[in-house]
């Protein structure tokens, strides 16, 4: 942002001397915008169109109808409370953990990082089930409270507070992921300088560290905010018994309603949800205005804060308690369910077996096919998003004008809509992109691929953009003046600096695409089953024991992959870069 003015002058100078170049540049801009419009906004507009049409004539009746119902406003109010509450919780937890991992000397950080990711990869139906059992009348929390004096009751999760808690816990890893690299890149000299000039630790944090970390915090916060907004599983499970509706569940209720007005009403509510999402995005820009970049650093993983042995132990213990409850507890609940022969039988040795695993991996052929489909889909989605998303982020960083901002808004919407609605938009768009012409995309694996890229691209854009924001524009200039040409400049100087941020985005896209459920459940077709579709199918048929067996293997696989990655990167650091970790 700070680089804007000199950039502008520079561009004007160049543009006036190369008017032809300028024209083609504008042409590229228009073409790019058009492509993005077709992929990202047109499907959504086809849905919005439905909110204005009744029997072929334009009407505002759906708006007047929906906006005049008290239920709508109650739902909007619930949504705002839930989304803001859970986003703040995710921000607090995410910033706290990333700050601790980045700065404080603790042992077992690598393992901690893996555990931080767990809530994010465990399917939300498992998370809700595990937590409700944990807090149930026969669960451990009630048992512990009964030892304490007084008449303490376990908190009721079937409430607004419960929804906020679980959404916050499920989405704080997003904030963590975006923020931790940013913290690592803040030059320690700044803090040292602040300390020598007499600033207290607190003031240093608020005056120096926070403004520098804002790009990551704003990006992570925005993604967490959008994820809280479109999440269906948690509010549906916890909100139904308490009659709490949020927009995502209310939209689903409309979609499954009958009659011609069902989709139109859902479209009106989706417009309201879209407005909230855009407001969040714009708020985030506003926050970023206060961020500063004043020099570029490589990320620096060595601790900056050393605690006394006692304090360190205490801190480590409390962190692990938190991680065990929020990450391991749902995983263990899931594992336990997957080993029993039927719901409700006591967890004793004679009731335990690997039969569910046997069925899922040997008897039924679908899960393994689905796993291979999902891995391929996730991998290719990641690659495409990596290239396109990073390119968009670069343009957004280089030319922060209206066009790139618009592009960012376009890309936010597909991620913010509830999965069901987004899938419907994909059908409207790709069944017959031009009326009367069916290109055969719909009903094959391609529609899933297009849907995933459209939905998750914003994650990569945010990841890469955060990385760019951490680079002082003078770096590129310096590279250019010292004669590094395009590719060399990128490979030698920029990419190593950008890598952690870009990698975070790619990892996120990969995991999201791998475990995606709601969009797939409407768009899959014979032969393109995904992991989410198989899990959803088992759940709906009442075979929870199978779905937990499959999910357990999936989560353990992700953990194993993460562990391998950490191990390899460590070896790489030691052998190749000769660094001591």
């Amino acid at each position: 942002m700070t680089a804007k003015q000199p950039e502008d002058r520079e561009r004007k100078k160049r543009d006036s001397s190369f008017s032809l170049f300028f024209q083609s540049k504008n042409l590229y801009k228009v073409i790019g915008l058009l492509v993005i419009f077709v992929f990202f906004l047109l499907p959504v507009l086809r849905l919005v169109w439905l909110s204005f049409v009744d029997d072929g004539s334009l009407t505002m009746q759906y708006y007047t109808e929906v906006l005049n119902e008290p239920a709508t406003w109650k739902t909007v109010k619930n949504t705002l409370i839930v989304v803001f509450g859970s986003t703040i919780l995710a921000l607090v937890l995410g910033i706290l953990f990333s700050w601790l991992v980045a700065y404080v000397e603790l042992s077992g950080k690598k393992a901690m990082q893996l555990f931080i990711f767990l809530p994010f990869v465990i399917p939300s139906y498992i998370t809700t089930l595990a937590w409700t059992q944990f807090f149930s009348a026969s669960g451990p929390v009630t048992a512990m409270l009964s030892w304490l004096p007084g008449d303490l009751k376990a908190p009721n999760l079937y409430s607004i507070g419960g929804i906020i808690l679980l959404l916050g816990i499920s989405h704080y890893p997003l904030v963590y992921l975006f923020t931790v690299n940013v913290f690592r890149k803040i030059p320690r000299e700044l803090e040292e300088a602040a300390a020598t000039s007499g600033l207290s630790k607190k003031r240093t944090f608020w005056k120096i560290v926070m403004p520098l970390a804002l790009p990551g915090i704003a990006s992570g916060g925005l993604i967490a905010f959008l994820s809280n907004l479109d999440n269906f599983g948690i509010p549906a499970f916890l909100g139904t018994p308490a009659n709490i509706r949020v927009l995502s569940t209310y939209i689903y209720e409309q979609v499954v309603g009958f009659g011609p007005s069902a989709f139109s009403r859902a479209a009106v509510l989706s417009v309201i949800l879209g407005v909230i999402a855009l407001a969040g995005t714009i708020l985030q820009w506003f926050l970023l205005r206060r961020s500063r970049v004043n020099e570029t650093n490589r990320s620096d993983s060595t601790p900056r804060i050393y605690l006394s042995a006692g304090k360190k132990k205490l801190l480590e213990a409390s962190l692990w308690v938190f991680l065990l409850v929020t990450s391991l507890m749902p995983l263990i609940t899931m594992g336990a369910l997957s080993l029993i022969s039927a719901y409700g039988v006591p967890f004793k040795l004679e009731n335990l077996s690997l039969r569910n695993y046997e069925y899922v991996f040997l008897t039924d052929s679908k899960p393994l096919t689905a796993l291979s489909n999902s891995l391929q889909l996730a991998f290719f989605t990641m690659i495409i998003c990596l290239i396109v998303g990073t390119a968009v982020a670069y343009l957004r960083f280089k030319y922060p004008d209206w066009s790139t901002k618009t592009v960012e808004l376009f890309m936010t919407i597909p991620y913010a809509l509830p999965g069901t609605v987004f899938a419907l938009c994909m059908i409207f768009m790709w069944l017959e992109p031009i009326p009367g012409w069916n290109p055969g995309i719909y009903g094959t694996v391609w529609i899933l691929f297009i849907a995933y890229v459209t939905r998750f691209l914003v994650l990569q854009v945010r990841g890469s953009y955060t990385a760019f924001l951490q680079i002082d524009p003078s770096m590129e200039e310096a590279a250019r003046t010292s004669g590094a040409s395009g590719w060399i400049k990128w490979r030698q100087i920029l990419l190593p600096l950008l890598f952690p941020g870009i990698f975070s985005g790619a990892l996120l896209v990969f995991l999201m695409a791998l475990t995606e459920l709601t969009v797939s459940s409407l768009l899959w077709s014979s032969g393109s089953e995904t992991v989410g579709v198989v899990i959803f199918g088992y759940e709906q048929a009442g075979y929870s024991t199978y779905s937990t067996a499959f999910s357990t293997v999936l989560v353990l696989g992700i953990l194993f992959g993460g562990g391998m990655f950490l191990l390899l990167s460590r070896l790489w650091d030691r052998k190749v870069l000769k660094k001591n970790d």
Binding site: A71, G259, T420, L431, G436, S525
Partner: protein, 340 residues
């Protein structure tokens, strides 16, 4: 689990026999399925393994037909078809989802083909659309599930759920999310013996509303709740697997959904679609349904162990057309009672 193995073993056996006695089967079956070919898109909400079993059995007889399955929840299948309709071209050829009201809805929008299958003659008229746009394929009653560890005296009436001694111990699926639950709501509120008062008493008795039948089973089997309203085959299967639950058919009667099947009007393969519908309703198709653990709808085919056959239960009934008309009002009224 055992049941599934036996079921699949039996399935293999029957398909094997069918394959051996192929000539016999062809002369016996009243349907003319020779020479049907091409592809059909089959959209269904049946569990995946069941849909696959059905398609495999059909393909044994009609090897020339390719069937691609789309399986999802009833609500997802319905919205997919509606979206395809908006998008300009419905892809589905044959549709099989939970309840008749859903079909009435598609019928009202003129999306269904009228086909009077000869096989439908052996099915009670109550479950077949007189205009031939859909016919039931199974009987799925909604009964009561009770946790046997917590409850010693088994109830025999729906009123057990409204009795003050069970306050806060019951659970039911939400009609706002599930079409089948909305159907049950429409039927039960139209009965003399139950009516809206029944639902008002349920609310007064602090019943928990949950997302779907699966969640009801989980919560009663684990003992989080003691009583629940649930579709019978899920409960029967849980009992077979060893869950500590009991399935009750209350004496006032039970609402049934019939998982009807119908053909979409703009099908590109009418012949194969008709052959497939015939097969589902035929003796063999119904036998298969019974092996998969469902009460068959065709007269003369036995129900699987643990479930009642059609003539053993009292059925609560209502006009599907009327239910469609009032569906949205019923849901709204339910929402009001349970305090949106």
């Amino acid at each position: 689990m055992k049941k599934i193995f036996y079921g699949s073993a039996a399935l293999c056996l029957t398909t094997f026999l069918a394959a051996c006695g192929n000539d016999e089967a062809e002369t016996n079956s009243s349907t003319k399925t020779e020479g049907v070919s091409g592809t059909i898109d089959f959209y269904t909400s049946q569990p995946d393994a069941d849909a696959q079993g059905l398609v495999d059995a059909f393909k044994k007889q009609n090897p020339e037909v390719e069937i691609s399955i789309f399986r999802s929840g009833t609500e997802e299948v319905v919205s997919k078809i509606q979206a395809e309709n908006q998008g300009g071209d419905i892809q589905a050829d044959v549709l099989l989802v939970a309840d008749s009201v859903t079909f009435e809805n598609f019928k009202a929008e003129e999306l269904l083909l009228s086909y009077e299958s000869p096989e439908a003659e052996s099915i009670d008229d109550a479950f077949v659309d007189p205009d031939g746009t859909y016919a039931g394929t199974k009987i799925m009653a909604t009964g009561m599930i009770v946790n046997t560890n917590k409850v010693t005296e088994m109830p025999d009436s729906w009123m057990a759920l409204t009795d003050s001694s069970t306050k806060g111990q019951a659970v039911m699926p939400s009609p706002l999310y599930s079409g089948a639950a909305a159907y049950n709501l429409g039927v039960m509120t139209r009965q003399e013996s139950l009516g809206w008062e029944f639902y008002e008493s349920l609310k007064a008795n602090d019943i928990t509303i949950t997302q779907g039948n699966g969640a009801v089973l989980e919560s009663v089997a684990t003992g989080e709740q003691n009583y629940g309203m649930i579709v019978d085959f899920l409960a029967a299967r849980a009992i077979n697997d060893g869950s500590p639950v009991e399935l009750i058919y209350p004496k006032e009667g039970v609402p049934v959904i019939t998982e009807p099947v119908g053909i979409l009007a703009n099908t590109e393969n009418e012949e194969a679609s008709k052959a497939f519908v015939d097969f589902i309703l035929s003796e063999e198709g119904q036998q298969l349904a019974s092996e998969q653990g469902y009460t068959p709808i065709r007269e003369g085919v036995e129900a699987p162990e643990g479930l009642k056959t059609l003539d053993e239960m009292t059925i609560l009934d209502a006009e599907a057309v009327e239910l469609l008309e009032t569906r949205n009002d019923d849901k709204a009224r339910f929402g009001k009672i349970f305090g949106e």
